[in-house]
């Protein structure tokens, strides 16, 4: 087997040759690549970068090669991510397929489902959305009511989902449906996949406080889904659903890491780091003149460093191929709170220039910052609220008595 040292050298050389220069700069919102049937590439280099990375399976480095993944072990994957970080390489592909569906499909899907879906996720050919939340089922997700009834060789699906991110752009959905009403709520849920182009599906975008409309209301009206699209066993979807949430939470905790990272600098932007922004907007040179802000920034940065060490430790401690566990709730909660804190500090640091909404008087970067600050508020709601994460930690990690076991089923 190739030694890690050789792997590192080969990887470095390959990246040197294959990563386009413009992909070695900080990501800009409009150039994030989500893939899918109608994939958009605002920058043509993004397309090239995706093709090259997908060919090596490095969009999903640890997934098995038989489904198009990179087949790397944990150590190699860490090296790859370090090498990517070293040249400041952008993520070639971001998708819910990679961060959420893929891992659980590999764990619970049958051979045919894996062969059909995994390679397309690796190559970014199909874009997925997540059909979990419903109007009356948010934190209490297991109370969901969207119905799937078996009619011969297909399920008939009726109901509605809400807050479905990118439902209007996605090609397929992974969806939680109720397949048994007569049993306790957790025992009658199934996990099913279907094409968003199916007849009977409609979506309606909802506008966020930040002004953009990334999520939708999603309606299902007699949607026919082949029975073979059910993942795992009938009525055992809750186990898969929870597992997927662990992956989602680990992914979201990365926002916190990113907050710390962008704060370690790397770009020339005036708002790249908190202290850089504070100095720039307040006209300070060596030392920040506001001692309170300086202390708060130092505190934030120390927490970010300790958080980055913790994320890294959790990767080092996890066994090969084991994936995340209940500690993902801790990382998710902490990371999200950190990211929110960073934006609040940024606003405090730069003053009124951070409060522009549109038009004259503000740079694009400043206007984007306002929107990002607002968007960051969702971090502690999406993927399960912070309160829910604390419940999970209390119950699953600390073994405290379940407060909800007394609640009416």
């Amino acid at each position: 087997m190739q030694s890690l040292k050789d792997f590192q050298e080969d990887t470095r050389a390959w990246l040197e040759e294959n990563c386009p220069q413009s992909m070695r700069t900080a990501m800009v919102q409009e150039e994030i690549v989500w893939g899918g049937r109608n994939a958009e590439f605002a920058n043509p280099d993004s397309k090239l970068w995706l093709q090259r990375m997908a060919e090596k399976g490095w969009t999903c480095p640890t997934w098995p090669t038989e489904y198009g993944g990179g087949g790397l072990d944990k150590e190699q994957a860490i090296i790859l991510s370090e090498e990517l970080a070293r040249i400041n390489a952008r993520s070639a592909l971001s998708s819910f397929g990679i961060s959420m569906l893929g891992p659980v499909l590999l764990e619970y899907g049958n051979q045919q489902q894996k062969m059909e879906h995994i390679p397309k996720i690796v190559r970014g050919e199909i874009r997925w959305c997540q059909g979990y939340s419903e109007p009356s089922s948010g934190s209490d997700l297991a109370s969901l009511g969207t119905k799937a009834e078996l009619q011969g060789d297909y399920y008939l699906i009726n109901g509605s989902k809400v807050w479905t991110s990118y439902a209007d752009k996605a090609d397929w959905i992974f969806c939680l449906v109720r397949t048994d009403n007569e049993v306790p709520k957790h025992s009658g849920i199934s996990f099913i996949l279907f094409d968003m182009a199916s007849e009977g599906i409609s979506t309606k975008p909802i506008q966020l406080i930040s002004g953009s409309s990334p999520f939708c209301e999603t309606f299902f009206d007699d949607v026919k889904v082949p029975a073979s699209n059910l993942v795992g066993r009938l009525n055992e979807g809750w186990t898969i659903a929870k597992r997927l949430l662990q992956h989602e939470r680990t992914m979201i905790s990365g926002f916190g890491l990113a907050a710390g990272q962008s704060d370690r600098g790397g770009t020339t932007s005036t708002v790249a780091s908190l202290e850089g922004a504070a100095k720039h907007y307040r006209g300070d040179s060596a030392k920040l003149s506001d001692p309170v802000l300086r202390d708060q920034i130092a505190r934030f940065k120390i927490d970010s460093e300790a958080f980055a060490f913790t994320s890294r430790r959790s990767v080092e401690e996890s066994k090969q191929g084991q994936g995340p566990n209940a500690t993902s709730s801790m990382l998710k909660n902490y990371g999200c709170e950190l990211n929110k804190r960073r934006y609040e500090l940024m606003l405090q640091a730069i003053g009124s220039q951070g409060l522009g909404w549109e038009g004259e008087g503000f740079s694009d970067e400043e206007l984007q910052l306002t929107r990002e600050w607002l968007r960051s508020k969702a971090n502690s709601i999406e993927g399960g609220t912070s309160e829910v994460q604390l419940n999970v930690i209390a119950k699953r990690v600390l073994g405290l008595p379940d407060i909800l076991s007394l609640a009416k089923k």
Partner: protein
Amino acid sequence: MTLVLSEDQQLLKDSAKGFCQQNSPVSVLRRLRDSKDETGFDQDLWKQMIELGWAGMAVPEAYGGFDFGFGGLGVVLEETGRTLVSSPLISTVLIAATAIRELASDAQKQELLPKLVAGELLFALALDEQTTHSPHKISTMAKKTDRGYSISGAKTFVLDGHVADKLIVVARTSGERDDEKGISLFLLDADAEGVSITRTLMVDSRNSANMQFSQVRVSEDALLGELDNGFPGLDKVLDVARIGIAAEMLGSMQAVFESILAYLKQREQFGVLIGSFQGLQHRAAEMYSEIELCKSAVRAALSGLDDADKTQAEIAELASIAKAKLSEVFFLVSNEGIQMHGGVGMTDEFDVGFFIKRARVAQQFLGDAVFHRDRYATLNGF
């Protein structure tokens, strides 16, 4: 750099844990306190620790040590923190052995380190002069004489000052009170003429002392490290000490947290376990998260110390991250330790009180959270 313990470190940690729980539970500290013990630590226990080789953990083999690295000393300190072991481990092993190793001449090392490892000498670092840690604010003077130096001044909060055989005294050989330049370190006998030592009984029941130096005469070779340029070396030693203290605090806060969890799962009110109240659950979950970050910060700092590629500035940053974070979280956990136990937590009979007392001393020792956030900001240029 890795953030998980090696197999050897894990073994050492397990055996240290067993040792401390068996031989030095919190009741030992309680006994020392109640009996107003002269030395303030258990001599037999210290002998056993010496036999286990703990004093030579981070001392090179050439000087009689075992070269097990700071990672090893760190896990031992963590375990001593769990049961609040009072011993010269911090003053003599963590601080003085490091100072000698880093700053002393070879002759001084040959003379002192083997005795230190064998438990024949105890040391104390006489540094602080203010009521808050400010390592470069030194007005104790060491004046050049024809045969050496004459030291005069006063020191406070000198850990193990009243039991030490040897003192490492931070004094000014030139410059003004706040200058980093002009600071030098001296090694002297605690019973030298002109040294007067007053034991101070601190809230954590460990040993500290105030010291007066009046025209204490020492020879040229009492100088430890460079003349006038002792601060960088001192700071390096202090960083090792700060990281070691953070490791000890990590053990202590885990002990408090475990006690909290056990109580939440045992105490009933309103007909249910109090651990089922969400108001307490969320606070417990938050403490757990903070303690996980503390573990990572301590591990990163300890493995940084054992990593020859790390620069002093990088170590300084890791030390300030660890000491700031641990000081903050130990404050939180020790307060919750009282609150979540209710009235029981306030009783002297229950151990948690010993931990909040230790917490406040450990928080302040070698710089509190504010000191280290300030230092971190300066190190990072803002």
